[in-house]
Subunit: 549 residues, 2 copies
């Protein structure tokens, strides 16, 4: 028995709302205008960005926090502008629902050359099939609602982006409701394989003298932070995180020892992890940046590596084991409490806040470390904004966000838009290089329009500072903008020109107090000033650029 | 016999240069850094945009003028940002060469998770296969140079974008030169079919009393403007153009009668064309916008439609006939000279320049018509900037550029960058709406960096004015920027706030005189003020939005 008919557009909006979405990011266009109209008359809030790229990044940030996000754009000129942001969501496992308007089914039949069409009418869907986990074109009202459910289920269970194309003459088409509710239960893992994996790993950990956990991004994406904390409480095993997984555990948690990044990260954390006799990696993607461009020395003989649906122990693997079940199982296995009497790595940023004179990367991050409060969410753009931020001691869990694997420059400012709407009790501290700011920084306009109040720090060093030490040329320069004057263009927010630590103190204090709008700190840095992490990374990166060939 | 070995990167650069490219637009990144370094040490000039989107649009504009253009970006985070601009180049037949850096062949083998990778290493090429006419991954030095030639030949002959992926460990790899030169000769058409088509059409035209030519964009893309002028000189047949083809003939040419756009365009031009007893369409794409959202009434019985490789006469067609051969053939067919004694449509903008008071769309365009000189190239963004510009009387041929089919908002500002570098003796007049400006307008930064001097007119009406009459909502608003203050942020150029016609006159005069940098006119318009063309179009568009469903 099928339920009462609804419209396709109405059903989609209803489902998004049920799943916890309150904001949809996008830019309108005629093929999606009718759906925007429906959205505006629904309980969902439309958030109009300057460019579709900004909407895509904002939706990704929103999805990382809420567990689902949506970007809604027009056909062709809108959809094909969010290919890169959707690719990032795929690479970094963020469940973004891409909703694209499209020419009507009927008008496609009559006219081959409708505006915004790139090649064939199917081209856009074919492109998205390459970078999403599921897609649907809602051209058939008979199955449209079931198709919506099928695709949303994939996003929610696999934590990956999906694509929905809605022809404009189908938005208000009546469609039968599915007769079963949307099931969000993931398919069960293999209970025998799970038991065996847990038993082997529990036995390894029980015998280990210096066990350590290396927690990665999937712990956050699959909502397993509580699982991780139960395991840590039960076992007292120290926890490091990867860069992409930074803040999956609160960094003031007594068991947190720091970020592990191979040769790129702090030496004391590296020694602690690499000398462990049982390294349990939980939900960590083995990416080049997370592994310090493969400078990591994690001996496979001593490593357990659990990801979304697989556990590897040394050189053998257990298939079809869910990460949640595995962590729960190990936590419940009655492990002996780890004595953990090795000296712990000490947090960075103990001093330098009192330094005077010009701002350097080093004293800037010392000041920022002191600026963090319980409500700060740090959002770092790729480049030294990210590498230097790796050791910023964020207070609570899930308070750090970055594109630390796909590494798309320009993520941070639009991400702040999505993040603060998703978590309105937090105040983003955005760290972004000047080159990246020139890509998407004007989305401060959208931030101003929706009356959000992040603190945006532009690391202004005159260009692509991460690339200079690899191979320099005038292509690494950017035009020196007066970033601090952008609030005058927007008619909102406050800009600060920061050249000295005294000015930095004053600007951070003013930004703290000014809670009604965005604050933008234009922090002047020497072009050759780099964080210690970037200096270590650069050697490895330059070898890759100059290397073979 | 194969020639002397060169490096793959060096061969590619050499070919681009031979083909007339002097500038390559792009943003660097580590996977393409070594190729940027080669570029910078070559005779080609690297033009760094703020965002890859700007580079893609600039390369498209450059290709429209020079017959070929190039955009060079890094893998993933760069390449997937130019999907939309490449789709536009495909839709509007612009031969853009997309050159993407990529992870090295060797490093891909060793490591599955390299940064900037979306899904599989092949994903990006698969995406570009959907929106380009040919692609190559230069991983095999043995065939790399031949592959470069194969792909460039497609771009040049088909006038469509192509994709070249260059793994970073192959840039300096030695590769044998092909033993044959790059042939740019298009495959010949069918001589018998061509003769037959020419004979039939010449006979029709000879008997016609009121023939008319409707010239479209392919005349420009395939470099057939001289062919067209010879035909017009020989036959004296009046010529209208489409919107996308605007300026394929100089608009002061005695045979030019105006733009034909069905019900969207001027009524006198429409009557003239639709009442013709032989309408010869040359290289016109039958798109919805060019046909006034299908309000055109072109009786197929009286229409000849020649495109790149086909001629349709009424309801029958001749295949494999090259547009160049067809136009040449008809021009040489000894047609009687058309008497053309019908009254010609009169140019618009005869008055209104003297009006006083606030600026309206109508008096703005009258002023702009008077502002045009022999050196002005008009670049119009989609929306009313384009529709109102349709009847601007550009002086010489190829002096009007727009995305009048694919209609991607935000094309115009970065297009001005590409256009002025391609045609340094011209000065672009950029017409752009405020919504579109918020997408890509900050590429003024790149324009400033390379010391170009377009005059940019922002039609500031507080949002997406083209959409309001279709279906309005707060999603059609944008934040009101103080656009005229952007030069202060860039530290270059001049900004003008324009509310009255007196201010408009003064600003245009100042912009004329100030030839050292960009001038930006922030022209305040009422949100409900629209050009006559947009008013006519809106009725048709609103019907499509609200129509069926």
């Amino acid at each position: 028995m099928t339920g009462e008919p609804v419209t396709i557009g109405g059903y989609l909006i209803g489902r998004l709302q049920q799943l916890g979405i309150e904001h949809v990011f996008g830019v309108p266009g005629d093929y999606v205008l009718r759906f925007f109209d429906l959205l505006e008359r629904s309980a969902l809030r439309v958030v109009n960005t300057c460019d579709e790229q900004g909407a895509g990044f904002a939706a990704d940030a929103y999805a990382r926090i809420r567990g689902i996000g949506a970007v809604c754009i027009t056909y062709g000129v809108g959809g094909l502008k969010v290919v890169n942001t959707t690719a990032q969501a795929y690479a970094e496992e963020s469940p973004v629902v891409v909703i694209s308007g499209a020419p009507g089914v009927e008008e496609r039949r009559k006219h081959p050359l409708l505006h915004h069409k790139a090649r064939a009418f199917e081209t856009q869907r074919e492109v998205f099939d390459r970078i999403t986990a599921a897609s649907a074109v809602l051209d058939d009202p008979g199955v449209a609602c079931r198709e919506i459910d099928r695709v949303l289920r994939v996003a929610l269970i696999q934590k990956l982006p999906v694509y929905i194309e809605l022809p404009r003459d189908r938005v208000l088409a009546e469609a039968p409701r599915p007769d079963s509710p949307l099931s969000l239960e993931a398919p069960a893992g293999d209970p025998d394989a799970t038991r065996a994996a847990v038993a082997e790993v529990a036995s390894l950990l029980s015998r280990a003298e210096r066990p350590v956990i290396l927690a990665g991004v999937e712990v956050q994406r699959f909502g397993l932070q509580d699982h991780l904390e139960r395991l840590v409480s039960a076992s007292n095993i120290p926890v490091a995180t990867t860069l992409l997984g930074k803040s999956v555990i609160g960094e003031r948690h007594p068991s947190f020892i720091g970020l592990y990044q191979g040769g790129m990260g702090r030496e004391d954390v590296r020694d602690y992890v690499e000398s462990s006799d049982c390294i349990m990696m939980l939900g960590a993607l083995q990416t080049d940046l997370d592994l310090g461009i493969f400078t990591a020395r994690l001996d496979p003989h001593r490593t357990v590596h659990a990801t979304r649906d697989r556990v590897a122990v040394g050189y053998h693997g257990y298939e079809n084991v869910r990460l949640a079940d595995f962590i729960e199982g190990v936590a419940a296995a009655g492990l002996p409490r780890c004595a953990c009497d090795r000296p712990r790595p000490q947090p960075a940023f103990s001093d330098e806040v009192r330094s005077e004179g010009t701002v350097t990367v080093s004293n800037l991050f010392a000041h920022l470390a002191a600026f963090l409060t319980e409500e700060t969410m740090v959002i770092a753009d790729p480049g030294d904004a990210l590498f230097a931020a790796a050791d910023l001691p964020v207070h609570r869990r899930a308070e750090f966000m970055s594109s630390a694997y796909y590494a798309s420059l320009g993520f941070a400012v639009p991400a702040a838009l999505g993040a603060q709407l998703a978590a309105p009790l937090q105040r983003p501290l955005v760290l972004v290089g000047d080159g990246a700011f020139q890509m998407t920084g004007m989305e401060l306009s959208t931030i101003a329009r929706y009356r959000l109040n992040p603190v945006v720090v532009v690391l202004n060093n005159g260009g692509y500072g991460t690339e200079r030490p690899m191979l320099d040329g005038s292509f690494n320069d950017v035009l020196p903008w007066q970033y601090y004057r952008i609030p005058e263009v927007l008619g909102a927010g406050r800009g600060f020109l920061v050249e000295t630590t005294v000015q930095l103190d004053a600007a951070l204090e003013a930004a703290s107090a000014a809670r009604d709008a965005v604050s933008l700190l234009d922090v002047q840095l020497a072009p050759d000033d780099r964080s210690p992490a970037l200096k270590r990374l650069t050697a490895a990166l330059a070898a890759s650029v100059r290397g073979s060939g």
